[in-house]
């Protein structure tokens, strides 16, 4: 779950990580008011797009009138398909130098990874490899003082700044660990006459750990159907084509989409109902798909932990209760396949045993209808 900048900064404050003074506002008048309190300000759109700056979502103002104008301009912007609902109005801080600092989870080393560079304030991809210091932290040891000092040495951070940094980084690490963060990124980390200040905050919390962080707000950047799927704990992504796809397992679902495209069709979505689903869950998945109004329904079931008879039962149940009018291409093999054939046979529903045939049939159906 990605957090808005202002929420990330609220968490920073809780961990004694300095952030600029600020006000969160919902309209241009409030933005003007904030200036009387904060003086020269930066006005920042609170959207989850990484292209906020480039899209014009950040402005500056020195007077209430200017702030009102800038705020109105930003509220009217389309930023990567996002609309601004709130603005963060921050005091303009005196920046002497911009650093980059982040903690992330590194799949290769299976450890938290510190990323630190003297080249902050730019796209992180543009920082030369040798200027980005990477330090995997042994999660059992935690972030020790010597590690921070060594990161400083490799960065070329000395003197007063080093003293600041040695205090700063452990706070970010503590937050990263305690809140189950996947990412805690500060770009730029500003060097100011008052010390280090986090000028930005990109924080992502691990969705799978949200259950133990009841205090955190819930944020979603999903469409209505995607949100519905999330409530049902289904992996669902909208893709824009006309063949609705449902399968069991992320890899096989991706491969099904690839095959649809390979044979000239357009998948409408990705829906993986996962392993070991029961009738209820599969029915809900089917109903969700029908709600997206596709032209063709393609089901690709390879039963392992998932039982084919359970899928067949769910299909018949939905067909009876909601009606399934659109053409269906149904592939079904694996655990309890024979029982499934019997259930479907009674209803006159034919199935394929080969994925290849089922996908080609679905593509044919979509080009005919």
């Amino acid at each position: 779950m990605k957090l808005y900048e202002h929420l990330g900064k609220k968490l920073f404050k809780r961990y004694d990580i300095p952030v600029p003074k600020s006000k969160l506002v919902e309209n241009a008048d409030q933005a003007a008011e904030a200036v009387t309190e904060l003086g020269d300000v930066v006005i920042k759109s609170q959207v989850l797009s990484g292209r906020r700056g480039k899209a014009g979502g950040i402005g500056f103002a020195s007077s209430p009138a200017e702030a009102k104008e800038e705020a109105a301009r930003i509220f009217a912007l389309d930023i990567d398909g996002f609309v601004t609902e709130t603005l963060l109005i921050e005091e303009k801080i005196k920046i002497e130098q911009e650093l980059y600092l982040a903690l992330t989870i590194d799949g290769s080393s299976r450890q938290p990874l510190v990323l630190a560079s003297l080249d902050g304030g730019m796209d992180v991809e543009d920082v030369p490899e040798e200027r980005m210091i990477k330090w995997p932290v042994d999660v059992t040891l935690g972030l020790q003082g010597y590690m921070v000092r060594e990161i400083c040495r490799r960065m070329g951070v000395t003197g007063e700044l080093r003293k600041e940094f040695v205090k700063f980084l452990p706070r970010l690490y503590r937050m990263f660990r305690e809140l189950d963060a996947e990412l805690a990124e500060i770009n730029p980390l500003a060097v100011t006459p008052d010390g280090l200040i986090a000028a930005d905050a990109k924080v992502t919390i691990d969705d799978d750990a949200l259950y133990r962080h009841k205090e955190l707000p819930r944020i979603s950047e999903k469409t209505a159907l995607e949100r519905k799927a999330e409530e049902l704990d289904l992996a669902y992504v909208e893709l824009g084509g006309d063949i609705a796809v449902m399968a069991n397992g992320a890899g096989i679902t991706m491969a099904t989409l690839d095959m649809v495209q390979h044979y000239g069709g357009e998948p409408a979505n990705f829906l993986d109902f996962g392993g070991g689903a029961d009738v209820e869950r599969i029915s809900q998945s089917l109903e969700l798909l029908l709600g997206s109004n596709p032209k063709v329904l393609l089901l690709n079931i390879f039963g392992g932990i998932t039982r084919c008879d359970v899928v067949a039962e769910a299909f018949v149940r939905v067909k009876e209760s909601k009606g399934i009018e659109l053409p269906v291409s149904f592939r079904l093999v694996g655990t309890n396949e024979a029982e499934a054939q019997e259930i479907l046979g009674k209803e006159g529903i034919k199935t394929f045993t080969s994925m290849d045939e089922a996908v080609r049939h679905a593509v044919e159906l979509s080009s005919n209808s």
């Binding site: 799949g107 299976r110 450890q111 189950d180 890899g251 991706m254 690839d258 390979h262 996962g274």
Partner: protein, 291 residues
Amino acid sequence: MAIYINENTRVIVQGITGRQGSFHTGQMLQYGTNIVGGVSPGKGGQSVEGVPVFESVFEAVENHPADASILFMPAPFAKDGALEALDAGLKTIVLIPESIPLHDAMEIMNYARQKNAVVVGPNTFGLVSSGSSKIGIMPNRYFVPGPVGVVSRSGTLCYEIVGHMVENDIGTTTVVGLGGDRVVGMHFIDVLKEFEKDPGTEAVVLVGEIGGSAEEEAAAYIASSINKPVVAYLAGKSAPPGKRMGHAGAIIERGRGTFESKAEALSEAGVKVADLPTVVPPLVKAALSGQ
């Protein structure tokens, strides 16, 4: 021959009294897996499919020595269960659950490294040495002995491909599911290294997907250290960037982890990359006959 496990591997099932745990204990026994005990706190003294249930992993190994454990516990309890199995001295841990928090997974992997143990998963179907032992949830009938090693990031897709191979009379030595999460115990390289050493394995099938850099790292390793032929299939060619395709790790982020980057890296390393799952068997046949 096989890698990691064989008919002598003694297995404990953690979470044996649950719905999945008891069902798959039966399936594993049918396949021939040597299950010596189950664990379910509060249910010690019961038995499941004739397997004695114990209060803890420690109690289970006191009763009968064991080498490996498979976990069927809910994600919030998986860390505790995995650390217990490692502390009790088991050297192969198979983590079936999905949705284990990343920070928990990092702690498990770290302790496993200290204990010199192998962790398969999380979010995996497990592993099977065909014809002798399976520690996992894969359907029994597709895993018949043969000369090909298989390593995969996804479950059902792996069955699909192994199924196509079986239809074409190509069996397997060992099939390993790495797991779909971002932090998993083993990567392609770890398993490739074992297949290269295994005299029974003549060719390797690698089933990858978009996201992360494990396929690119595997490609570099294959180029430098693997002499056996490798065939690959990669899922996610049609996936849009920035969207998580089911698996936590299957996402193209900041232009990295794309299908193209992986297919190109593998091809350059001499790996034959199949366009469709159905193309894997002919490519494997060609590889086995030295073409």
